[in-house]
Symmetry: C2
Subunit: 397 residues, 2 copies
């Protein structure tokens, strides 16, 4: 064991609304241990570039503000380190005598950390690698849910609830494209603030189930005939029965203009495509499509207070667990066995290799393939995560 107390923290991947809660949770936990706390600017990129900042200097008032701010306060990176890159990182960690390296990130970041921790073992170095989960996609295995998801889910739920009242006023079809390339959790969250059985979203399409235009048209027609309106949540990651992304197929089939300017690789394509199919095939005039965009992970003012608290505590608990072990680990919210009891979470340690780089998808019991919608079980699982109920204050005529 090294006698020093140098601690490094970095943030990786797409930022969230509460990633700074975890950061400050770690800082406060390590402050209690009188550690010398260092931050790497822009994730692992900052380690390679020797771009560090002293984090011990921030006082409680500063830290309180930082933890409430969306985005990654230390900056993030999309760098996906290969073996050589990881080797380079380790050399620097060793040179700077880093006792513990906390990396806050999702699937990719945890996988980088796994590679680094393997080198640590191989070289007989002493840096402990600790993964702190965050992802709005909620797709880490052995995690009941991940910090960042609750706030993104709340934003999506509030957006679709508002849209529900909007489309009641001016009937038609509304399509909202939601983030989530492999897992449908965030798209499913669009359902959470439904109040009446006639409330939208009436249909939900997830990446876990192959998307057929025939089903899509049939289901929309059924709902539209019944209510005179239809609200649909579609994951950006929907695929055909061969696993090809629908959005990729649209872009490939599409024509370029003569000047080569319009490449249509932007985000509006899937929504526009599906909306035009409804207009042409079902002859519905009023069809609107929105692609929800980056506000899903960063919108200021829709944060879940449950998500905030959990993100902070998961950072803080990691600093406590690190006293018990010097092995690498990934901290997590333990998977609940039942969703009908009082909401109560437990923070645990997972083995890093059990979590790193793996993808969790929606449980089968969370989705009804007959109604193309989520089940009560999903709502029971997910509702407590988005925080306090705002629906009791609302009513239609």
């Amino acid at each position: 064991m090294q006698s020093n107390n140098n601690i490094l923290i970095a943030q990786g991947g797409g930022p969230t609304n509460v990633i700074n809660q975890s950061l400050v949770g770690i800082i406060n936990g390590e402050k209690n241990k009188n550690s010398n706390i260092i931050g790497a600017i822009n994730g692992v990129r900052g380690i390679i570039d020797n771009n560090f900042i002293k984090l011990s200097k921030f006082n409680d008032v500063n830290l309180k503000k930082i933890q409430n701010t969306p985005g990654a306060a230390l900056g993030s990176t999309r760098d996906k380190p290969d073996e050589k890159y990881c080797h380079e990182i380790l050399k620097i960690l060793n040179k700077k005598k880093i006792k513990r390296f906390y990396y806050i990130g999702g699937n990719d970041s945890s996988d980088s950390l796994r590679i680094i921790s393997n080198y640590v073992k191989e070289k007989n170095y002493s840096t402990q690698c600790i993964h702190i989960p965050k992802t709005i996609d909620n797709d880490l295995v052995k995690n009941d849910h991940t910090p960042g998801f609750g706030s993104a889910a709340k934003y999506v739920a509030q957006l679709f609830s508002g849209i529900n009242y909007d489309v009641r006023s001016l009937p038609g079809v509304y399509l909202g494209i939601v983030m989530g390339r492999h897992a449908g959790f965030l798209t499913a969250a669009s359902s959470l603030l439904r109040k009446l059985s006639s409330d939208g979203p009436h249909l939900i399409f997830l990446p876990e189930y192959s998307f057929k235009i025939k089903d899509f048209l049939e289901q929309v027609k059924k709902i539209y005939d019944k209510y005179g309106r239809c609200i649909i949540a579609v994951s950006e990651g929907i695929q055909d029965n061969k696993g090809n992304l629908i959005s990729k197929k649209i872009i490939q089939n599409n024509e370029y203009d003569a000047h080569g300017n319009i490449q249509l690789s932007g985000s509006g394509v899937l929504g526009d495509y599906l909306s035009n199919i409804l207009k042409t095939k079902l002859k519905i005039k009023r069809v609107r499509a929105d692609t929800l965009g980056y506000a899903q992970r960063s919108f200021l003012g829709a944060v879940s207070e449950v998500d905030q608290k959990e993100a902070y505590n998961i950072g803080l608990m990691a600093t406590k667990f690190s006293i018990k072990t010097s092995s690498p680990f990934s901290v997590a919210i333990k998977e609940r066995e039942r969703f009908d009891a009082k909401y109560n979470i437990k923070i645990i340690m997972n083995k890093l290799e059990d979590v790193a780089g793996k993808t969790k998808v929606m449980k089968k019991e969370f989705y009804d393939t007959k109604t193309f919608n989520v089940t009560k079980k999903f709502r029971d699982y997910c509702l407590p995560i988005i925080g306090k109920d705002i629906l009791d204050t609302l009513s239609i005529i």
Copy 2:
């Protein structure tokens, strides 16, 4: 004068987050006069279709919930009545012995009401026509601002503030397309929660000023070179120097696919187009475009408490003004002369014909054509309308 006390209320045009505040303001005001309060379902369409609802029956608890709910509780319509349609409406109003007709709506709705009120005079009928303003576009003349705008502005400001922290974490270019076909108020509101001089949006493009690709590229390059990132707010209504909508030009120039399915008339086109220009001409890799969509007028949970209160009071005050006069009128928030004093609004009556069907645009002093951004004067004008400050709780490292 008729001896009866039948009062009709209808809601028209795009719904907002606070249009039901005005509705309940009118109901409560008329309840005090022991009126028989009737609602038309789906705006003027409900009058023609004989689709009415008794509003006197709702108690205070119901009304409190209805006023907090986004969307038009009575339903709305996009019908733009012609002379014959207006004539038909008037016949029914007269047959139902409607003493006062309150129509909550924007430019088009106020113009329909103007036509109806002219017929009232011509036929010597006694229905009083009262226009209650609402529009997220904020483009009614002789109104300091309109109910609905404050909440939409708050949503747009919060979204861009969150994006600001997101893009600080993962640098690149972000383009957000904001609603507002003729007036740039809502796009300009993207600036309201900037805190540091380096905060985005760094560039704002409005429909009031002709859009030149050359300027656009130059300005983005300048900001990107300076900060390594650039956040841009673009109005959906930007036009070339001949007054042609840029989005319309893109759709017209675009190719259709062989199956005729992809018509690209959806909402993602302008953002994707501008984003691709930046990628190809400036060789910037990370460019993201979002089109903000319908959440701007309906998002549940970003409502401005100032907007709520004003929308309610404007409905309530209209019922009080109606005691003083039997002429048609449009109620309004009086235009402030100074924006640096304590925020204080006054509700007044305008002549209906002075407001109806006219469009207000941004004052010249609100926009700086050199920096392609809004002025301090605009922020002084607009900040109080979005309600309480949430920025003091935030910080970056």
